[in-house]
């Protein structure tokens, strides 16, 4: 009966506090201050949809944790700030969350550039941060620090997984990617891995449109003129959508195989315009894992936000749940205790298997997925059929490689 009593008292206090116009939460939780989680993410700009999925994923996890009584009797509270894809705002807001709002833990931002900035602040203030979208290899490489954890497949892992998963029959490969750091790295790691797993294959043509390019015509004709067996694309978001729409009219998808990095947001945006038979590589698609926790998650997400969750929502939810398990295991909000708990964690998440962090770089052993686009009657947009799950330990850099990068 105690819990009933507490609930009622909380309810009454909350009502009173709301009536007084004060923050209901602070009033109700005066005895038990909430555990504060800080999230700086890019709610404005080209990556805004990803950030929204992330915020929703973390919110859903926190709602479930709080409904189950919180951690150590304390509720979780989420504080969200908009970094607008600007690293300097990422720094300012993250510092503000730590020094003014006194957040206990950080959960990852959106863009890699902001991720780099947030990681630097976490390092300075020795705050545990769990990254759920940024994946530049520099985060686990030269910029690594012991309070950093990531459950995103790194750029290296993804590029290698693509080379690993491709059929050996593709010998002549063309590349197209936005002219920025991540895709330059991608083609390098992809090429290196290809030399190992399919030594006869060659990258015969590379195209670098600028980010936000409206007209892909010259790139499409260049790509086709080299008559590749396969085009590997590192385009994403509005660039990928524009490219696919324009390439269709050139019959590109009939003339050659197309393999691309793919986000659920892009599948959603293209709808039925997405051609079938494209090889898509995804981070953490909800349809990549059948049954179990994932189904429950998809239903809960849909009930709360009336939408199908994106990769970002999946990783954000897992990131928050994993952090919560770490806090529970440490039975404290002390940074060193939680860091140690996370280092030894065995987390059973949405994607099946057990997530652990390795010692050298705190990279979670998360999978990535490779499949072929096609129709699923249950979804209003194209999905991946015939999905291959590529495990982290097959493609992640060895500890020696990581240590060499830090020199």
């Amino acid at each position: 009966m105690t819990s009933f009593g507490t609930l009622t008292r909380r309810g009454v206090t909350a009502l009173l506090a709301a009536a007084l116009g004060a923050g209901a939460f602070t009033g109700a939780q005066a005895q038990q201050p909430p555990i504060k989680i800080g999230l700086t993410t890019d709610l404005t700009g080209i990556a805004a949809a990803y950030a929204r999925g992330q915020v929703n994923g973390v919110e859903l996890a926190i709602a479930e944790i709080n409904a189950a009584g919180g951690i150590m009797g304390r509720k979780l509270e989420l504080l969200v700030r908009d970094s607008q894809l600007r690293p300097e705002l990422g720094t300012s807001h993250t510092r503000d969350l730590i020094t003014r709002e006194k957040v206990d833990f950080l959960i990852g931002p959106d863009a890699s550039s902001v991720g780099v900035a947030v990681s630097a602040v976490a390092k300075q203030y020795k705050k545990v941060v769990v990254m759920t979208i940024p994946n530049t290899p520099r985060l686990v490489g030269e910029l690594y620090h012991p309070h950093f954890f990531t459950i995103v497949p790194s750029g290296t892992m993804l590029a290698r997984a693509m080379a690993e998963g491709l059929d050996k029959k593709y010998k002549s490969i063309a590349f197209i990617g936005g002219d920025y750091e991540a895709s330059h790295q991608a083609v390098k790691y992809f090429g290196d891995w290809l030399a190992k797993v399919n030594p006869e294959a060659k990258i015969t043509n590379t195209q670098w449109p600028k980010l936000g390019e409206p007209d892909f015509t010259p790139y499409i004709t260049q790509l086709l003129s080299s008559k590749p067996d396969l085009i590997f694309s590192y385009l994403w978001g509005s660039d990928l959508i524009a490219f696919i729409k324009q390439a269709k009219s050139y019959g590109l998808f009939e003339r050659t195989k197309f393999a691309t990095l793919l986000f659920l947001d892009d599948l959603r945006a293209l709808g039925s315009e997405m051609p079938d038979g494209i090889l898509g590589q995804m981070y953490a698609p909800p349809f990549g894992t059948k049954g179990g926790k994932m189904d429950t998650f998809i239903q809960a997400f849909n009930a709360k936000y009336n939408a199908y969750p994106s990769d970002w929502a999946v990783m954000a939810y897992d990131g928050m749940m994993l952090l919560a398990q770490g806090i529970k295991a440490a039975n404290s909000v002390d940074q060193e205790a939680v860091r140690t708990a996370l280092e030894g964690i065995k987390y059973e998440g949405l994607q099946g298997g057990v997530t652990t962090f390795r010692e050298v770089d705190h990279q979670g052993n998360v999978p990535s997925f490779l499949g072929v686009t096609g129709k699923d009657d249950k979804l209003p947009f194209k999905t991946l059929v015939d999905i291959k799950r590529i495990e982290a330990d097959k493609v992640w850099p060895t500890p020696q490689e990581i240590l060499a990068e830090r020199k």
Binding site: R86, P87, S92, D96, A117, Y180, E181
Partner: protein
């Protein structure tokens, strides 16, 4: 305008900023630090626009060069940040000399466009030279332990920025400053009087570039990172907006504009879902109702109040008359 009237608000501001860490929390000190750096950036820009009448759209190049000088020296050669901050104005100044050599030959819109082109050129190099600059995800830099606490770095910034703004103040009141003002008002007449217009403009461009470099060199240790976005053209638009918002003709105009923008950016991105809407509304109000900027409007109002009892030529009117005359050669 008497020098006391221009110096007084600066000294009040300096005293306030010096007392600030005793009055507010760490996060606000950090925000104030951001403001000081932004203010110096805007002030260095206004040496060009306000004093010499040169509208540059590429000022961020020197800001970013300053930031990268510190970060590159730190991460490539292990040079601590204080010598880096001393080197930054030299690097930015030398680059400003090279770029200025070409751009001061042009006027008005052509000057603006060429300065923008050069800045974008430097931006492209910085953002795509991965092995040297770290590319678009930035280059890390760490202040030494004694500068790591927020207050310590704040006072360090305050000292450097005060010296630089003091220098700008002296320049404004020097014969060099007067010559720049003469060129701004009427370049033909200034040339006829024997001023070498191009040399003066080049000198202003170099000085403004070097001081923007100082601002940038303070920025990267604050963020512990140098980013290519510091050199991007949108960054060049910031001091233009800040200066116009604060008041282009007033010495402290850009400082007020910088305070407004830093606060607005922070508050708006912390608490609203529509930051661009909020920015747009503020700019609209400023343009429609305060065309002379905040400081310009306040000064005008102050002068009118004082002029009422004795309507003998108020300084503002004399200034306006000079401008009127200046615009017709």
């Amino acid at each position: 305008m008497g020098w006391r009237r221009e110096a007084a608000p600066l000294l009040v501001l300096l005293a306030t900023m010096a007392a600030l860490p005793f009055l507010v929390g760490e996060s606000d000190v950090y925000l104030a630090n951001d403001f000081l750096i932004t203010a110096l950036f805007a002030m260095s820009f206004n040496l060009l626009l306000g004093q010499a009448g040169m509208l540059s759209f590429g000022h961020a190049a020197f800001y970013g060069l300053g930031a990268y000088t510190v970060a590159l020296l730190y991460s490539k050669l292990g040079v601590p940040i204080v010598p880096g901050i001393l080197a930054a104005p030299l690097v930015a100044g030398v680059m400003a000399l090279a770029i200025g050599f070409f751009v001061v030959r042009l006027e008005g819109m052509y000057f603006a466009m060429l300065s923008l082109s050069f800045a974008q050129l430097i931006f492209s190099v910085v953002s795509s030279w991965y092995s040297f600059t770290g590319g678009d995800n930035g280059l890390p830099v760490s202040p030494p332990d004694w500068l790591l606490p927020t207050n310590a770095y704040y006072y360090f910034t305050l000292a450097v920025v005060s010296v630089c703004i003091g220098l700008l103040f002296l320049v404004r009141r020097s014969t060099f400053g007067a010559a720049l003002a003469a060129i701004r008002e009427n370049p033909q007449r200034a040339a006829y009087l024997g001023l070498n217009v191009r040399v003066y403009q080049l000198a202003a461009f170099v000085l403004a570039g070097a001081l923007a470099g100082v601002a940038g060199s303070l920025r990267s240790p604050l963020q512990q990172m140098a980013f290519p976005s510091l050199l991007y053209w949108t960054q060049s638009a910031d001091p233009v907006l800040m200066t116009l918002a604060g008041g282009v003709g007033a010495f402290i105009g850009p400082i007020v504009g910088a305070a407004l923008f830093v606060l607005l950016t922070f508050v708006v991105t912390s608490h609203t879902d529509y930051p661009l809407f909020a920015f747009g509304a503020v700019v609209l109000v400023l343009v429609l109702f305060l065309p002379k900027g905040i400081v310009g409007t306040v000064e005008g109002w102050w002068d009118r109040r004082r002029a009422k009892p004795a309507p003998a030529t108020p300084p503002q009117a004399a200034h306006a008359a000079a401008q009127q005359e200046g615009s017709r050669p």
